[in-house]
Amino acid sequence: MSALTSRRGLLFGTAAVSAGALLAGCTSNEPKSGKPATSDQPAADDKPGKPVTIGFAGPQADHGWLNAINENAKNRAKQYSDVTLEITEGSNDTATQIGQIETLINKKVDVLVILPADGKALTQVGLKAMRAGIPVVNLDRIFNTPQAYRCWIGGDNYGMGLNAGHYIGQKLKDKPEARVVELAGLDNLELTKQRTQGFDDALKNYPNIKKVARQAAEFTVESGQAKMAQLLQAQKKFDAVWNHDDDQGVGALRAIEQAGRDDFLMVGGAGALSAFQAIKQDNSVLKATVLYPPTMAASAIDLARALGQGKGVGGLAEYEIPASITLYSAVVDKNNVDQYMSTGFR
């Protein structure tokens, strides 16, 4: 106990306090310039109409992509003077998310946009909203039954793999006995299986290409670095790698740089800003990435607004919005990267 009042203790205490003060100044994460990614594609119908209150419930934004989902929804809603957005604190806990959505139902919002933490587990609350007369736009993670939503909009995991496979296939189609490796995402998730399935199916069109290795990382930079380092050691020679996720791709690129390898091309997935920048600079192995666009949240707001105002989607002949929209996983490479730069997430 005496140490606490001793000179050593005092010195240590002072050092700790000043270190703390120094550190506190270091939590800022605002870059010097740069504004949040706003989508600048025109809305279907910009003219103000009937006021609509949209309730938005998503999971905890613990991943760059999910964070971009929230920002896309917020920024899109801001563009419309007739839209009021009620956004909940994101949660990964099923019970909490159900509670938040029930609160929105009780508030009698006009339309709900729900990105469930777990689609199956939240089906019931989706049904409840629909029965209460509040149409639901189900974002990305799908409910168990179509009765629980009026419209589903989401990405295409199979298509991601398919397009990545075709891009690599086209690049390597004249190369005899080409070798390809795959750095997959979290194997526990069904979407990882779908992405791999799409990739494998695409490669079947190119008999000269063989997938020689696959390792699964965990969507984190740390795991991407570790798994890619192992893949590089296991495969002394290969021609292309498809990485499911740009976040883990930061680690994968780091491992490639550390190993001093540049004898292959890499295709990413999802569409992170860092990946777009690397593709634009064209000084690494990363040559393209297939999208899983977070702009889907902005589109979900558009759909919700159209639902609330009883309109269809501009550009289509229908009087009603579609029941289901699967987005296209576009391949972004050096040629079209500028167009997508503003949608990249950090």
Partner: protein, 340 residues
């Protein structure tokens, strides 16, 4: 139960001729007990399996560099964990502290201070979290399991708040270059040198200093230690500080290795570190700890992962085998320990 494997600290030296030898040598021979030998046996068996299944890729200087590099981050954490477990405590917050330290040290604001700023922040955040853990446990009377569980939750939360889920990419060249081939010293990556240094210092502190003996004494019987004049509370505070320091160093290594900071960093490190320490022969109930064993435990895990990846086995197989190997290693150890 433990006395017959780890030799008594006093008494035997007087009769043994080894007493006249230099103390470090004596320590080495005394420490290489059956448990360590069985761990070396497991490692040798793994190397044999790796060498047979993938001779070209596994038995390769670059692969050795790879395995040791991948082991360094969790290795440094495990050294700190070994001290805490030896004292009868537990630190569940190590992974979260690594995450918090790595994101705090890679914010745009911190990166403006360059290499020094990043290193200082990573270590200071680690030590700071360790200090909170230590104060809560030693002076707040909280159970280590609960206090560090609370730290786990809040440190992860704070890390998420700082990053907002984003990946913070490091742009400071002096930090990045430390992880690249050009800065290897005689073929040894700097990360591995740090890991080796932490291991050696940890070994010396645990086996050759009063601090180490106090740690063992507190873990063996805290009440007896207190009666013997040890300030148990202060000792506990220092131990959690030490674990926090190791997490801070590990966070810096992880920043160098991955070139970024992310709130998902250090995922489940607490379990990996505890498993490595237990496999190594550190008693979960306290009173006995071995740095050599812990480091061998880490190397065994890393080598398993490496062999699986080289053979292109998928993560489901990897997880099943990992569990089986933990059980096998502990069973073999119990056998060998009880027959001697």
């Amino acid at each position: 139960m433990t006395q017959h494997v780890s030799p008594p600290r006093d008494g035997t030296d007087k009769t043994a001729p080894a007493a006249r030898r230099p103390s470090v040598w004596h320590g080495l021979t005394a420490r290489v007990d059956v448990r360590t030998l069985s761990l070396l046996g497991v490692l040798a068996a793994l190397i044999l399996i790796g060498g047979i299944t993938k001779p070209d890729e596994f038995l390769d200087g670059r692969n050795l560099q790879l395995v040791l590099t991948q082991a360094s981050v969790i290795g440094v954490v495990t050294v700190g964990m070994t001290f805490v477990i030896t004292s009868g405590g537990i630190d569940l917050s190590v992974g979260a502290i690594v995450a918090l330290a790595s994101v705090w040290a890679t914010t745009v604001a911190t990166q403006e201070y360059g290499f020094g700023g990043i290193l200082f922040t990573a270590v200071a955040v680690g030590v700071g979290c360790g200090l909170v853990n230590g104060l809560l446990i030693a002076y707040g009377g909280m159970v280590p399991f609960i206090a560090t569980l609370a730290m786990l939750a809040s440190a992860r939360g704070l890390a998420l708040q700082i990053t907002e889920g984003r990946t913070q990419i490091v742009t400071v060249d002096s930090v990045l270059s430390l992880g690249e081939r050009d800065s290897y010293v005689l073929g040894i990556p700097p990360l591995v040198l740090v890991f080796a240094a932490v291991t050696i210092v940890g070994w010396l502190v645990l086996n050759r200093t009063t601090f180490g003996r106090r740690t063992v004494a507190v873990g063996g019987n805290a009440e007896a230690a207190r009666l013997a004049g040890i300030d148990v509370r202060r000792q506990r505070l220092y131990l959690y500080l030490l674990s926090g320091l190791c997490c801070g160093i590990a966070a810096f290594l992880l920043i160098v290795l991955s070139g970024s900071g992310q709130n998902t960093n250090g995922n489940l490190y607490e379990l990996d570190a505890i498993a490595a320490a237990i496999i190594g022969g550190t008693l979960l109930s306290g009173g006995r700890g071995t740095i050599t064993g812990s480091v061998l435990g880490v190397l065994i895990f890393t080598t398993i992962t490496n062999i699986f990846a080289l053979n292109n086995l998928q993560s489901d197989v990897q997880q099943i085998a990992k569990g089986a190997i933990i059980v096998a290693a502990v069973l073999v150890q119990r056998r060998t320990a009880s027959t001697t």
